[in-house]
């Protein structure tokens, strides 16, 4: 009997945790979409497909779906002004720095682009963004 109650309680707890986790994820993705539409869409396009030879795609990109969160945080904060080779193609356009984008906004927009179109990578947390920023600072020194 006691065991049953405990199990029921555990499952219930787990469910509540999952639902709240999903909710947090959903809210982050909604915020991320808004940021994407105002800051990123013009160049990377609504399907994340980019523009050949100019603006690299986010959809299907190994960088966007990859593990190097610090690199992506750095590109958003500092911009990017090099010809980039990505998945066998070259892209020329520079990306502007967005120093005004807050840490939680960076987490949300990264979560959004990593989970849109055909992308199915992990959400990016605020803690990961903070960690990335300090890592990038150390590397700069």
């Amino acid at each position: 009997m006691g065991n049953k109650v405990e199990r029921f309680f555990k499952i219930g707890c787990f469910c509540i945790m999952m639902i709240s986790a999903l909710n947090v994820g959903a809210q982050n993705l909604i915020n991320g979409k808004k940021i994407f539409e105002t800051r990123c869409l013009a160049c990377h396009q609504s399907d994340g497909g980019g523009v050949p030879n100019m603006n690299p795609p986010l959809d299907g990109s190994t960088n966007v779906n990859g593990k190097d969160i610090a690199r992506m945080v750095k590109i958003i904060q500092n911009g990017y002004d090099e010809r980039v080779a990505l998945d066998g193609m070259y892209y020329n356009n520079a990306m502007i720095a967005m120093p005004d984008l807050k840490e939680d906004a960076i987490a949300d927009v990264l979560s959004y682009i990593r989970n849109s179109w055909s992308n199915k990578a992990g959400l990016v947390t605020l803690a990961e963004v903070k960690k990335s920023i300090s890592k990038n600072k150390v590397n700069k020194k």
Binding site: E37, T38, L41, A42, C43, Q45, S46, D47, G49, G50, V51, P52, N53, M54, N55, P57, R83, Y90, N92, N93, A94, I96, A97
Partner: protein
């Protein structure tokens, strides 16, 4: 049996759909015209040029799978499809032009000259003559298109390495630099002597200025005048959201076609052309509010096209194959926009500009459409999904015209049958 029949009918249905899609290589053309696929998958083909014997040369923006960035295409059996395709050259670029027995090709910094033999084969593929070098390439608007006048002068665009000469390029709220320091070495058309070697900026002449970026240009031999298509500025909405919303940005500014005389100034970055007001408007980076009119000294366009469609090639038609109305008029390729987002994109077609007595009438029409793979009445939403994007234009010795594409590298041949 029944199953076999239904499979067969399905097969026939698929065949008929595929067959239909292939008609005119997927293009929509005026009555009497037909198109065929002269070549496909040659690499990202930018400009093309054709010799008197009908050999086509294409310049690729990057070396293709075989490592070649200049491609020679010959239709030896005259069936309308290239059957002898060879290549050379390691440098990517855009410009290519046959002048007499010389073939000129451009990288993003230089112009090279090759020699052709009597079979229109290149004699010196690995050691061309350097005609001009050291032209500015800062990756943005880096391509160097070329054309010639009736003599031996070569005209090359040097695109501005900037959107609108802001202190911080493409950064919201950043003001325009006054005067714009880019214009001394870019943002215009430069003229060089095509017969000389090893020229740099000091040997050339700034022929026209205030042109943000030109890719399509051609010499009108009827009027003896240079015509260029400018790529208008981007991002009015994202840089100045208080003045321009997404809908205004999608329609501003016009892509402009200019009849250029030596010394002309088209006004970039200080003004842009508003196609609905029919006026040059002061750029917001220079104190404009979307209404304030720009200085009269700047050139007015001969034709204003819808915004952001990215004009890539200009060809004055001098052949006799096409109906009379096309004679001495201009064909213009539109690569297809990306900066109309979030609204649907425009372009991905070849336009025709009629000329009367050496002057553009101001009208224009779509000549060949459907390059993007989009059905009639359907728009391309995202540029990356376009099947083909038209770039180069050239006229064959029989009066057919050829159109290149820089996605996979198709070359379309368009002819007229009475």
């Amino acid at each position: 049996m029944k199953k076999g029949l239904s499979i067969l009918s399905l097969f026939l249905l698929v065949l008929s759909i595929v067959g239909k899609a292939q008609e005119n290589a997927g293009l929509r053309l005026p009555a009497g015209f037909k198109a065929s696929l002269f070549a496909d998958n040659i690499g990202s083909a930018r400009h093309i040029t054709i010799t008197k014997s009908g050999v086509v040369f294409a310049k690729l923006s990057n070396p293709n799978k075989e490592g070649n960035a200049i491609i020679r295409l010959e239709d030896a059996n005259h069936d309308g499809v290239a059957d002898n395709i060879t290549g050379w050259g390691k440098y990517g670029g855009t410009g290519i032009y046959v002048k007499g027995n010389s073939l000129y090709a451009s990288s993003n910094e230089a112009i090279f000259k090759y020699e052709l033999n009597s079979k229109d084969e290149v004699v010196n593929p690995s050691n061309p003559v350097t005609v001009v070098s050291g032209l500015i390439n800062r990756r943005q608007h880096e391509s160097k298109s070329i054309t010639f006048d009736k003599g031996n002068n070569v005209y090359v665009n040097i695109g501005a390495y900037s959107n609108s000469c802001q202190t911080k390029d493409r950064t919201p709220g950043s003001q325009g630099m006054m005067p714009c320091p880019i214009l001394d070495s870019a943002g215009g058309i430069w003229k060089f002597d095509g017969t000389k070697e090893n020229q740099t900026y000091k040997d050339g002449k700034r022929y026209a200025t205030g042109l943000r970026n030109v890719i399509g240009l051609d010499w009108n031999t009827e009027t003896n005048q240079l015509f260029v298509m400018q790529h208008g500025r981007d991002q009015l909405n994202t840089l100045f959201p208080n003045l321009y919303n997404d809908s205004l940005n999608a329609e501003l500014p016009a892509e402009t076609f200019y009849a250029i005389n030596e010394g002309d100034n088209a006004g970039w970055p200080y003004v842009y052309y508003d196609p609905s007001q029919h006026k040059k408007i002061v750029a917001p980076e220079y104190g404009g509010d979307g209404k304030k009119e720009g200085a009269k000294e700047y050139k007015d366009p001969a034709v204003a096209f819808p915004a952001h469609m990215a004009p890539m090639g200009v060809l004055f038609y001098t052949g006799t194959q096409f109906p009379e109305k096309y004679k001495n008029g201009a064909f213009i390729t539109f690569h297809g926009s990306w900066n109309r987002a979030p609204l649907p994109q425009e372009g991905f077609f070849v336009a025709f500009v009629p000329f009367k007595n050496g002057k553009a009438t101001g009208e224009w029409e779509i000549f060949a459409n459907g390059f993007g793979g989009n059905a009639e009445g359907v728009k391309v939403i995202n540029t990356g999904k376009a099947k083909a994007r038209p770039v180069g234009l050239a006229q064959g010795p029989d009066g057919s015209i050829y159109v290149s594409d820089d996605t996979k590298g198709a070359i379309f041949k368009i002819s007229y049958n009475k």
